[in-house]
Amino acid sequence: MAIDKVVGSFDEAVADVADGATLLIGGFAGPGECPSCLIAAVARKGAKELTIVGNLGGWGTNLFPVIRERMRNLIAFPPEFVDHGLLVERGQLKKGIFSYPDAPSPAMLMPVERAVAEGKAELELVPQGTLAERIRAAKSGIAAFYTPVGPGTIAEAGKEVRQFNGRPHLLEPALGGDFSLIRAHKADRYGNLVYRGTSRTFNGTMAGASTITIAEVDEVVELGELDSEQIITPGLYAQRVVVRPARLPPWDEPL
């Protein structure tokens, strides 16, 4: 039988995301690099007690229109965009492991800030490079590593400190998930992926760092159309591929 990782719907792709699952959710901060349809499908499924690993805490549906309006003179954000702030708003988060959880202005509160303040969720704050490296370690079978980033700061809390070359380092453990939900540009049936521009970001890092990696792509192309030299994520790191429509429907509609 031919290998074919393409799944017909987003709802089908996330059907086995169970309560208590750990999700690595790709993206950085903007809509270009965010797997919005996969996130919406997890919201529709309603899986609870999730641990979510990502860069941002997530804008959510209340804050995003404000941000979109602020950014209007610089860049046009599609109004249908949702990020994992949606899952936080809907009470699906147990623990967030983020690099950038708070809103960029003291006048705003991200959903995760509210959830933590109300005692409904926990937060683990991780420097961005350490977060990326911990995820990469999970993909790469590295149990833990020593980084020079963090000694003498909040990042040191609870961590082993050890000297290498006369400089203190922190021991940081691998951080893998049950599912990586990522955004890519094109895929083939083997799960080979290419990205577009800076949308590669944490998406490329998280591919392969979970038991199941699901890629939300613009297009599935014929095998061979992706040049071997140019494939960024080799297919063995992606287990499922779903094609996203050109225009996103409202998040609560089946897709």
Binding site: F28, A29, G30, P31, G32, E33, N55, M71, R72, N73, L74, I75, A76, F77, P78, F98, S99, Y100, P101, D102, P104, P106, V112, E113, V116, A117, L123, L125, V126, P127, Q128, G129, T130, A132, E133, I135, R136, T147, P148, V149, G150, P151, G152, T153, I154, A155, Y195, R196, G197, T198, S199, R200, T201, F202, N203, G204, T205, I232
Partner: protein, 223 residues
């Protein structure tokens, strides 16, 4: 009373004088981002952004031309440029942690005379964001902090010890503010340049640690 303080563009201009040919430079949010407008004409540097690009072009000003798949770490649209490369996040921070970034220009809430930097937790917020600033502060070959010399309500920001939680200890090499340029040295902060019309005493009055006056102390060059 002291003369006017420099505006943000002028501070950025001053920082950009530190750009040297061939440098790999990462600019933080806010005033640091403005530095990209002032690269000296005979200097070629490559900008790095944490979210995975090196050697990108200017910030795009027209939203019609912006592409949501080409942004910098401040979510500003960037232009493509010959020689630009793209990469995922772990690779991007291999560059940072591995010491491949020659210069990081960061904003600051507080800087100590040892070069400790605090810039990640805004006063009054329960939760802050480390972002990529901590990695940059620890690992860039050179760190310049650019910030107002004091807060809007007159609180000192250049201190004997930071009271806010640190981004990184002993990481800052140079502080550029709206009134002065100071180098962090093993002996303490060396006042190297002052905004036009300012005296060393006036700068000192806004600075908690004792400033060492550079023998070459001069006005900030603004051209």
């Amino acid at each position: 009373m002291a003369d006017e303080r420099l505006d943000e563009q002028t501070m950025a201009l001053r920082v950009a004088k530190e750009f040297q040919d061939g440098m790999i430079v990462n600019l933080g949010f806010g005033i640091p981002t403005l530095c990209s407008n002032f690269v000296p004409p005979d200097v070629e540097i490559l900008f790095h952004t944490e979210n995975g690009a090196l050697g990108f072009g200017s910030i795009i000003q027209d939203p019609e031309e912006a592409d949501i798949d080409f942004i910098n770490a401040g979510v500003q649209p960037i232009s493509r440029q010959a020689g630009m490369s793209l990469f995922e996040h772990a690779e991007s921070f291999s560059m940072v942690r591995g010491g491949h970034i020659d210069l990081a220009v960061l904003g600051g809430l507080q800087v100590s005379e040892q070069g400790d930097l605090a810039n990640w937790l805004l006063p009054g917020k329960a939760i802050g964001s480390l972002g990529g600033g901590m990695d940059l502060a620890f690992c860039a070959k050179r760190v310049i902090v650019v910030m107002a010399h004091t807060t809007k309500d007159g609180q000192l920001k250049i201190l004997k010890r930071c009271s806010f939680p640190l981004t990184a200890p002993a990481c800052v090499d140079l502080i550029v503010t709206d009134v002065a340029v100071m180098a962090v040295t093993p002996q303490g902060l060396v006042l190297q340049e002052m905004a036009p019309g300012w005296t060393a005493e006036e700068v000192q009055s806004l600075t908690e640690p004792r400033l060492i006056l550079s023998p070459q102390l001069k006005p900030i060059e603004l051209l």
